[in-house]
Amino acid sequence: MQNQEHINQLKNTVQGILDEAVKQGSSAAEAGLSQENGLSVSVRLGDVETIEHHCDQGLGVTVYFGKRKGSASTTDLSVASIKETVSAACSIARYTSEDEFSGLPEPELLATEFPDLDLNHPWDVGVDGAIALAIECEDAARSYHEEISNSEGASVDTHQGIRVMGNSLGFLQGYASTRHSLSCSVLAQRGDSMQRDYWYTVVRDALKLDPAVEVGNKAAERALRRLQGRSLSTRQCPVLYCAETASGLLSSFIGAISGGNLYRKSSFLLDALDTQVFPEFVRIHEQPYLKGALGSGAYDGEGVATKTRDIVSDGILRSYVLSSYSARKLGLHSTGNAGGVHNLTIDPGKLDFQGMLKELNTGLLITELMGQGVNILTGDYSRGAAGFWVENGEIQYPVEEITIAGNLKDMLKNIVTVGNDVDYRGNIRTGSILVDRMSIAGE
């Protein structure tokens, strides 16, 4: 198989880098190499706008001299450049301090099984095929309704990459993966009100892309429904995060239980292990071995085996999210999360989106969040928002130019229910989430 040959070639290069690091005196080393090719085509108002051919490569190396560490990276993979990069890392390690917690992972934690996770599905769509698909998508959006007045276009992206990583403990692995997407963004206008919205589909296997017409229609529908939004008076009320915005809540939670924030004691969930963080019905788990999923992987950024595991069960925080370094700082073991979580999933409840609206009854449905506004140290949360005012389970009118605020600690505890309208397009899989009470600021 061609891929396997390519992977083997890159493995040889990585082994060469590790050997070079040892030759230059380092006691341990880790290296990663990636190559990626891609095509992005965008169309606007029925005609081609850009055709981009991507071709990226990169090498990163970390060396250890005992407990001192240095890192370097380069996009130039020539023999001379590789040597210089290793030597740059070694030179840096002369100046960094002894850090008793630094070093490669414990050997027994390294991954030893590498099942095929079905991540590689090259798509030979070609420039013409990509243009045709993007035009079909944008056409659907533009012809959806007469109030669709303008377009930012539609685009097709396809990427195939190979990643190889190794360390001086003998770990040396690589895999190929693909990612394909189709997106569309259009404007709607009614009187003075102009709104823009978008929709996209992203997958490992192009056969599983949502139909172009469906993506276009959804983009149009979303832009239209925002027209003539108004602000709300300042109040407190329940808030329903739609599935796309709910993933942000969970990512803030993950930030708060991540090693880096914990050992710096800059998390609102410090010392929260084995305590009630969510209501009892909440289970949050990692699924690294899901076939064909966007967040799948048998090992993390350091080669540590990933685990199918519960992070929260019965609403109780069972485990942190740790790399080797942060684990040692906390006196724990790596959880296989150097580089992040893998298909983080909150168990869906019984209600679909309509059911969730009924459950909300009267309150705010959030469909868009703006700005950063989240302080992981204190849990203070204040973000710009747009969405819809809902009464008796029915959407009444679009809402914009408001903020929602609260403290994450309370917000997580005050989750009323989780919908089964799961968004599978990212590394965090959640349905819509209803939060009991938040502060809304408006006119």
Partner: protein
């Protein structure tokens, strides 16, 4: 000439690329009837050092180099790039790129003759290499000194994190008329984050800065220690902060970094691409009133040594001072070559790209409001009840609806003309096309930010600057929890 030779030595010579090779690649691009074409060569060296928990914890060095090849025909752009600066690779890229022009046959091969007579433009920063401006040991010593001096400032300090970043970048743009334009761009940045604790409550403060200079920037005038003092001050203020108010109220914005208001509310909406396409809330509004007559807002890439400054943009156009709003009236947009040509106006030197692997587009440089007539204290005194927002985190805008947010990281209540209690951070939200019409007082104290801004647009990050005098806005929504 000197700068062109520096860029040649840094990028082309190691790759063995001669003028004749550039002529061949450009000739290939111009063998289709394109409107414009360019080749962007870049070589960047980057380093970072981090001190945390009292030790030098991390250091890294990286090299990013490559070339991007672009052809433009009407509104269509073909683009390819490679990390390998090699003739065959770039010729193949040129073949892919010129396929953007489909109609008609190949034109008579145009001959491109590289010309090195350089047009006149002004340098707004020296050709320094920040990475070599200090010995590695001196960089470490600087971090250690900032760490230890900062830790001495208050007994409530639990943690100090100091980071130092330097970039040395060479770029060279070959344009379709055969001209070669080059720039050498230094950039340095330092940041100090402090975590404090008092009776079990923890808060943080952060301060940093930098510019297109070398590391002496942090040593001269004790700039680096100043960041530490400011970070500690902010963290201690946060210990005392009460819940922020919620609702629409009079807001006084401090001078300097709060100018992110202008970047989000006005700046993005005035970028040429959105306005050519008619997708901005400001589209078609040149000549109309979009602010009170106290407001004059400019974008200025020519400020010496500023983080957002460029001598030439990434298309080789000299930067300039562009008036966006004059006494409340919208004057014009920020343009790159493509959008200027399509809109029939002149480029303004705002064509920027994150790297050779990205397409240029209209981006801001340093965006700020000119000073007004009011004493800042007088502005505070004029407010019966409101919010004084002194410092901010980041922001975001929806350029179509015009709605924008920016998050206050240090704010106080104003009660009866006096600044009273500190309040927690909160997001402020407003509508770009009308927020500046509510500006009722403009201070005399124009200040630019300390050199920390990074702007993201369509996945591309570029360094920018902002600034403003103290401003009073009669009505902005403040997103606190205290309803």
């Amino acid at each position: 000439m000197e700068i062109l030779n520096l860029a040649r030595q840094a990028i082309l010579m190691p790759a063995g690329i001669q003028d004749g090779d550039i002529e061949k690649i450009m000739g290939r691009l111009l063998s289709s009837p394109v409107d414009a074409a360019d080749i962007y060569f870049q070589s960047s060296h980057y380093e970072s050092w981090v001190m945390e928990a009292g030790i030098i914890k991390e250091g890294s060095h990286s090299i990013e180099q490559g070339a991007g090849v672009r052809a433009v025909c009407g509104e269509k752009t073909g683009f390819a790039y490679s990390d390998r600066i090699e003739l065959q690779v770039l010729l193949e890229a040129a073949n892919n790129v010129k396929a953007i022009v489909r109609q008609g046959q190949d034109a008579d091969p145009l001959h491109c003759k590289v010309s090195t007579k350089s047009a006149d433009w002004t340098k707004y920063y020296p050709f320094l290499n920040p990475l070599k401006s200090l010995e590695d040991q001196q960089k470490i010593d600087l971090l250690r000194r900032v760490d230890s001096e900062t830790r001495k400032l208050d007994s409530r300090i639990e943690e100090v994190i100091v980071s130092l970043i330097g970039v040395h970048e060479h770029i060279l743009v070959a344009r379709q008329d055969g001209s070669l334009v080059a720039d050498v761009r230094p950039l340095v940045r330092m940041n100090v984050t402090v975590i404090v604790e008092q009776k079990g409550q923890r808060e943080q403060g952060s301060m940093g800065g930098g510019g297109r200079s070398d590391y002496s920037y942090f040593i001269d005038k004790d700039t680096a220690l100043g960041y530490g003092r400011e970070a500690v001050r902010q963290a201690l203020v946060n210990l005392e902060a009460v819940d922020a108010p919620a609702g629409n109220m009079t807001v006084v914005l401090g001078s300097g970094w709060p100018g992110i208001l202008l970047h989000e509310a006005i700046g993005h909406g005035l970028e040429g691409d959105f306005n050519r396409k008619g997708t901005s809330a400001f589209s078609g509004r040149v000549g109309e009133r979009v602010a009170s007559d106290l407001c004059t807002v400019v974008d200025d890439g020519t400020l010496p040594g500023r983080r957002g400054s460029l001598s030439i943009d990434d298309e080789g156009t000299p930067t300039e001072l562009t008036v966006l709003i004059e006494k409340g009236i919208l004057k014009g947009y920020m343009q790159d070559n493509l959008n200027a040509r399509l809109m029939g106006v002149n480029p303004t030197g705002n064509g920027r790209r994150e790297s050779y692997a990205h397409l240029p587009m209209p981006r801001m440089t340093n965006t700020y409001m000119l000073p007004g007539q009011h004493d800042p204290e007088e502005i505070i005194k004029s407010v019966k009840k409101g919010l004084y927002a002194k410092n901010f985190g980041g922001g975001q805008v929806d350029i179509t609806s015009g709605k924008f947010v920016f998050s206050a990281s240090e704010a106080y209540l104003i009660e009866n003309g006096k600044i009273t209690r500190a309040v927690k951070g909160a997001t402020l939200i407003g509508n770009g096309p009308d927020v500046l019409t509510k500006v009722s007082m403009v201070g005399t104290d124009l200040a630019l930010d300390s050199g920390v801004g990074t702007c993201g647009k369509e996945g591309q990050s570029v360094p920018v600057g902002v600034g403003q005098p103290t401003l009073k806005i009669d009505g902005l929504t403040v997103g606190g929890t205290s309803v």
